[in-house]
Amino acid sequence: MPNIDQLITEWRKTIPYGRGLGKERLEELETHLRETIERFLQSGMSEAEAFRTAVAQLGPSPAISSEFRKLDQRAWFPMKVIIGAEIALAVAMAALMTLRIAHKGSSLLLATHAFTVTLGYGTAFLIGALGICFVCQRCFSDFSITRQQSISRLTFMLSAFATCFTAIGIVLGMIWARAEWGRFWAWDPKETGGACVLAWLLLFTVAHRLQRTTGRAILLLSLFGNIIVSLAWFGGNLIAGLQSYGASSSVFALTFGVAVNLAFFLIGLAPAGCLRKAN
């Protein structure tokens, strides 16, 4: 005869966890279920009967999940802006790539490398921008579970997207470098930067997937993504190398960018609603 914990573990498996519910909502429902079971046990029911009655009273899991899913359809405004910016970035980069090939005679391989890497790095910046919006709003009011979950889903999708495009871009760059410079990889500042960004994005995506960190931690971490991508993208230009075009980077701008992101990270450690007026 299975005990209550085993029965609850089985019950948890019937919940559509990934879509609709999520970790905190499931924990809240489980607490409710356990409290109902305890009351039934005190009234003299057997464990199996108490569990069955409590589950029936809680209601069918698909119906509860469906109600939660309805809540998730309301997107936070900065999320809509970030999605729009992502689409605009992809369209602009595709147009630029086409123009470069048509008018400047760039090779398809190099243009595709530039397109994919820029899209990967740009997406990492957009995740960081979402992190900054999160920190700013959190100073005034904490985020509901529903909103945290929808932000978390978007950051996961964007980080997976950024990882794929950066990885494809790096591989294409390696193939192009082999053909033009006779080697795949030479730890050039830009290449090292690219490897660091890819490692960071992989780590970020995996941490997100494994849910080892909370939504807040993920968004605070995204600010470090801004710093790493800035250093990789623009820092490499400041060091002489094959791919240096240093005129477009400035030490001041880079230092300022790093400092701003660190400042937002520190603000993000403050308690939620720290700047909120008392009711």
Partner: protein, 111 residues
């Protein structure tokens, strides 16, 4: 007498807000309070309370926070926010209009 589900659904928000106006509470306790006050006539499907609570939280009417209970288990307590107080005031006025209209219609001379 069991209430129809449409009426239960329509009354869920004012009931929750009114209970939270009296003090912070959590899902299980809110359900027990409603059962107790209604003499068991208002009986929610327990799980359906939580999407409503989360909707209220998402709209800034209530604020949720995790608190460790005596058993060591985490409970999510909800408290009424300023927006929730305003919403409750509006709900009270609307329900008063409905009940006063019905009471007038159900007086013996109208029956």
């Amino acid at each position: 007498m069991k209430l129809e589900k449409e009426l239960i659904a329509a009354s869920s928000v004012p009931l929750i807000l009114s209970i939270l106006a009296a003090g912070d509470s959590y899902g299980y306790a809110i359900i027990q309070r409603v059962k107790e006050l209604s003499g068991g006539n208002i009986s929610w499907t327990d799980g359906m309370l939580y999407p409503v609570l989360h909707w209220l939280e998402d709209h800034g009417q209530v604020r949720g926070r995790w608190v460790k209970s005596e058993s060591g288990r985490r409970r999510r307590y909800y408290s009424l926010e300023l927006r929730g107080r305003r919403a409750l005031q509006q709900q009270k006025e609307q329900w008063k209009v409905v009940t006063s209209t019905l009471q007038q219609l159900w007086r013996p001379q109208h029956a």
